[in-house]
């Protein structure tokens, strides 16, 4: 008992000493910060974050909007509100199953009016599918698989990372500068680099990762995750010399390799979610509108 009291006393003394020392440090720190321009310090920290890959949400969305405007400059949206509403509601439901399910993430989905077979994503939550790919699909679950694959690219920030790599993060620092002119310049440079990235494609590993994420997101949303494999099978069956497929084939790993990798990754793990009932009537109705 006596010993316990003694050790408690010793602990108290230790804590007191630590507290005094802590105060001393705090006083020193205050002296230091008084001499520093805090604005400059925080700007420097943010610049450092940009260079290392941490782009704040608002900037990511802004960049994604610019890249989307670029894509939409190359090809317009299908001018059918029913079609666009359908993909946006489906897309939003898929996004609900991810870490970016809050209202502050403005997910936007668009069907592009081109016969080219492809799908795209842009940072911040922008996803596109071409009319050419949409009409090849056979069910809502297949569409969910395609959209979820693109959502995967957004979540993993594949485009942001590729742009940071290709511009060595230099332009990203300018995103933060207060001068609106420099900011504008940075956005323009990044948009240019982004369009070149769409023409060039992401890393193979990024595509495989998006495939794996896509099937999981689709399964979480209640869809048959195996539908994405069906889409890949359809794509694999298309004429590789068709000019409408040239861009997709040149910017993605061989379809058969994607099928093999995805099938292996899923084997046994998602079997319980297969063959879920799919609401295909509304899907077919929308697809018919695109076929007209």
């Amino acid at each position: 008992m006596k010993r316990a009291a003694g050790s408690a006393l010793a602990t108290c003394a230790g804590l007191l000493a630590a507290a005094i020392a802590g105060n001393a440090v705090a006083f020193d720190l205050k002296g230091l910060t008084d001499k520093l321009d805090l604005d400059k310090l925080s700007e420097g920290v943010e610049k450092l974050q940009y260079a290392t890959g941490k782009v704040p949400r608002t900037k990511e969305i802004e960049l994604g909007e610019e890249l989307s405007a670029g894509l939409l400059g190359a090809v317009k949206l299908v001018g059918d509100t029913q079609v666009q509403t359908y993909v946006n509601q489906l897309g939003r439901w898929l996004a609900e199953q991810t870490s970016r399910n809050q209202k502050k993430w403005p997910w936007r989905f668009g069907v592009l009016d081109t016969r080219t077979v492809n799908a795209f994503a842009a940072p911040g939550g922008h996803v596109f599918i071409t009319r050419g790919l949409f009409v090849l699909l056979e069910s809502e679950a297949e569409l969910a698989g395609v959209l979820a694959h693109e959502i995967g690219h957004v979540l993993e920030k594949h485009h942001l990372q590729a742009l940071q790599k290709s511009t060595r993060g230099e332009v990203f620092k300018d995103l933060m500068v207060k001068s609106s002119e420099k900011n504008r310049e940075a956005i323009e440079k990044l948009t240019g680099a982004g369009m070149a990235l769409y023409a060039r494609g992401l890393e193979r590993e990024d595509e495989y990762a998006a495939d794996r994420l896509g099937v999981v997101i689709a399964a979480r949303a209640g869809y048959d995750p195996f539908a994405l494999l069906n889409v890949l099978t359809t794509i694999d069956s298309l004429d590789p010399h068709d000019p409408d497929l040239a861009l997709m084939f040149s910017t993605h790993p061989p379809t058969r390799e994607r099928l093999a990798q995805l099938d292996r990754a899923m084997e046994g793990k998602l079997d319980g979610y297969a063959a879920q009932s799919a609401p295909d009537a509304r899907f077919l109705q929308i697809r018919n509108r695109l076929l007209q």
Partner: protein
């Protein structure tokens, strides 16, 4: 009365079951027919694209099929088969036997959508496509000028989380807990 209704329903269900069980299908890629729905199952037969099968039940990524030619039953990966009749003209491509079987179906839907020329011949599709849908090449992407009006249109189409949930509810889609792969 009730009994008759019940038996009618039962007959209908049976009919649906038979129709489903006997769904015609075909193999779309080189596959192995296994005696179990597992990669450790023994391979009973190799199937080539275009082989007619009956589609039986599905289990996970696996699909039980019956080969029409010899009535042998076994399991293949579900994505290796498709529902429907074997396309009448199976295009054989010397470079790649896996391709071709489905390309007819795919080009059918593409030509129906006006995405291909009426001949389905892709080499002339650029000039024969009747509706003015353009392509999207690497060059066109790099030359594109941002379209702010189209971006604003895109933003207007965006759905709220509530709209997404209502969309799911209308089709009875339910959230599931699924671990990342």
């Amino acid at each position: 009365m009730l009994k008759r209704q019940t038996s009618t329903v039962a007959a209908l269900l049976l009919l649906i079951g038979v129709v489903l069980a006997a769904a015609p299908g075909f193999v779309v890629r080189n596959s192995e027919l296994r005696n179990q729905p597992s990669f450790s199952g023994q391979v009973a037969q190799r199937l080539s694209p275009g082989t007619a099968v009956k589609l039986l039940e599905r289990r996970g990524g696996w699909r039980r099929v019956e080969v029409k030619a010899n009535s042998r039953r076994g399991w293949v990966r579900n994505y290796q088969v498709r529902a429907g009749q074997v396309p009448s003209s199976v295009v054989s491509d010397s470079r790649d036997e896996n391709r071709g079987v489905l390309s007819d179906l795919a080009s059918l839907s593409r030509s129906a959508s006006g995405l291909l020329g009426s001949s389905g011949n892709t080499s002339t599709s650029q000039t024969t496509a009747t509706i003015g849908i353009r392509g999207l090449s690497a060059e066109e992407l790099k030359a594109a000028r941002p379209d702010q009006q189209q971006l604003n249109q895109l933003k207007r189409y965006g759905a709220t989380p509530e709209a997404g949930r209502a969309f799911a509810k209308a089709a009875n889609l339910k959230r599931r807990k699924v671990n990342a792969l």
